[in-house]
Symmetry: C2
Subunit: 380 residues, 2 copies
């Protein structure tokens, strides 16, 4: 039996030049914003200038924090919170991909909290209030522009954790595929790998949410039709558009309605590759998934069979895994640890950290011997 | 190129006993509500009592308008508006299917307007403000519980028209499949026919919104898997649940994102069967669709071919139409005019009214000779 609450408050403005509506739309609730972005790409792709034009046109004051990195860290967020408090902003505006948007969410909730924002991530308290969040998405990947999740890493604590709350949904998100045209091939690939991984994490959340599973498969079909084409034709607007909209739908909630949660075991492992070796998020997932599926094959005949039937029209686990790998291969995503070119991969340290941090899935829990099996397979 | 705004503000509370959250949730904005419902079913299925229990528990005052009919009319809505003004309510709470919910939407916007509410339907002015709308949905069909559309008929004007606005989305909707278990077989069938018709109207809206089309097909597959089973097992909760969630998703916007509009030509014709002969909405659609598809076959090779490829994996128009008819037949929906048992069907009057009211589709316009062809086919 299915219980669900569909509560997706974000207004998504999607399409060429949608940014031209930004000033008018946000001026109803924002008069002084903190722009949260990275050092380079929002300057290169023109989005920062376009946003500033809009803000000026509507007399919205702004301040810029332009030091968010890929795999965003709590340090920059803390700086952003101080800045937001000092400037007394009334909204946080992210420009970028998941890193900028997740950081903006953290700043928006940290603004109202006197303690350390990291407390939300370690579940010491739940998010209780946040400034309005605006997202100008420039990367098709995480879906953060239309969900209530923020993922940060804390290097001193050696943790990369997500927090989720309805109050962390952006109020308005603007997705103009034009800004993604300058994304290089590797990050385009990682973004698509991330989309696929989101669909599968939701699928393995199980529960008999048949229609949600069908929506997930629909997005997968879309990505498998247009993703491989895009990799060979990076400046094709129409293909950028297809992948950008798919990435939003892959994690805005429609693939998970009626399930209590996704599994997220692959993400839990992948996050540690990012944490220790700064592996791009999507790349970590396409490397871990094939091995996790092999692990699942030994663990749950039901799980792997249902996956095969839903996604690849086969009951045979080996064929299912081959086809899953083929999905990643079709977009040239890394599928083996060696593809990541990690210098000095320390297998024992990596495993110990997974164990210490209790890396696991919600539906398919990973105990120490499971993690050991997976790490052994990774280095084989 | 695709432009879209995803703005679906309704919070959907779905599942067994979700009504138990109603009082707490709506008490944050409602203290005095007008309940809008029909004369019978909400008493029979227990939903009215359950709602009243909740309202009492949270000290929310209420007034009841329990005379909404299937194919709702502007007369009852006008009465509801007077009542809402007199009692100075702060929310309108529908209990029922599309008829009750559409009427509640009309009352909610009519409350703030001194003129006749029908003006909104004839597009004399746009909806500008509405009371908060709450929906307790008890019929899987129209999807009105999660969209901004209201359809009313006006017998003196011989019109049945829809109006659409973001302000007409219910604020909170509660869908407990339990309430649909007592829906008789015929109305269960009409509801499923309505779902299918919504998917196809969106599909024929065209535009290259490939992912939206995939979502539509996903819902169709869900309905074709569980709909025929439900017809033979009306008290099966799990099947009621599948169809109820599918009905919401079929018209909450996700199948139309990136398209400017659906076609709605079949609805335009079907509405006139309801207007003149009180034909249930879904029944009118399953009768008109087969003929409209035959008409389309002569009109647009592209349209019928794309439909066949997307829905039935065939390029052959005849096979496509056969399979479309088979879809309706699989749920025992009426597919011919004679199945509707209309007494004294006046072909010429019906055609003249279609012509006078300019019944047409947005993408596939219907001129007089098109309408004549369609009506001739209907009576063949």
């Amino acid at each position: 039996m299915m219980q669900l609450t569909w509560d997706i408050p974000t207004r998504l403005h999607f399409g060429k030049d949608c940014i031209q509506k930004l000033g008018e739309i946000i001026s109803s609730y924002a008069s002084n914003v903190l722009i949260v972005t990275g050092a380079n790409s929002s300057k290169k792709n023109g989005s920062l200038n376009d946003v500033i034009d809009q803000l000026k046109r509507y007399n919205i004051k702004y301040h810029i924090l332009d030091k968010i990195k890929s795999n965003p860290r709590v340090e920059e967020v803390r700086e952003g919170i101080l800045r937001a408090k000092k400037e007394n902003v009334d909204a946080v505006l992210a420009i970028g991909g998941g890193s900028a948007i997740d950081s903006a969410k953290a700043i928006a909730m940290g603004y109202y909290y006197d303690g350390d924002v990291w407390d939300f991530y370690e579940n010491i308290l739940k998010p209780f209030k946040a400034l309005p969040i605006v997202a100008v998405n420039t990367l098709a990947a995480t879906g953060s522009e239309m969900n209530g999740t923020s993922v940060l890493q804390n290097e001193s604590r050696q943790l990369k954790i997500s927090v989720r709350s309805t109050i962390l949904f952006p109020k308005d998100s603007f997705c103009d595929p034009t800004y993604t045209i300058s994304v290089p091939q590797d990050y385009t690939i990682y973004g698509i790998a991330d989309i696929i991984a989101h669909l599968w994490e939701a699928f393995f959340g199980m529960g008999e949410a048949t229609l949600s599973d069908r929506f997930g498969k629909a997005i997968f079909d879309e990505v498998m039709e247009f993703g491989p084409q895009l990799i060979d034709d990076l400046i094709n607007y129409d293909l950028r558009e297809k992948i950008m909209y798919a990435s939003t739908c892959a994690l805005n909630g429609i693939t998970i309605m009626g399930k209590k949660t996704g599994d997220w075991g692959v993400h839990a492992i992948g996050h540690h590759l990012s944490l220790l070796y700064d592996v791009p998020h999507g790349a970590s997932l396409s490397v871990v998934y094939p091995i996790w599926l092999k692990w699942l094959q030994n663990k749950s005949a039901y799980g792997i069979t249902k996956f095969g039937l839903t996604y690849f029209d086969t009951e045979a686990p080996d064929e299912t895994i081959d086809k899953a790998i083929e999905s990643f291969r079709s977009i040239n995503a890394p599928i083996k640890l060696e593809d990541l070119n990690i210098k000095n991969f320390d297998k024992n340290y990596f495993l110990q950290l997974l164990i210490n941090n209790k890396a696991s899935g919600a539906i398919y829990p990973l105990n120490e011997s499971d993690l050991k099996w997976i790490v052994d397979e990774m280095v084989k």
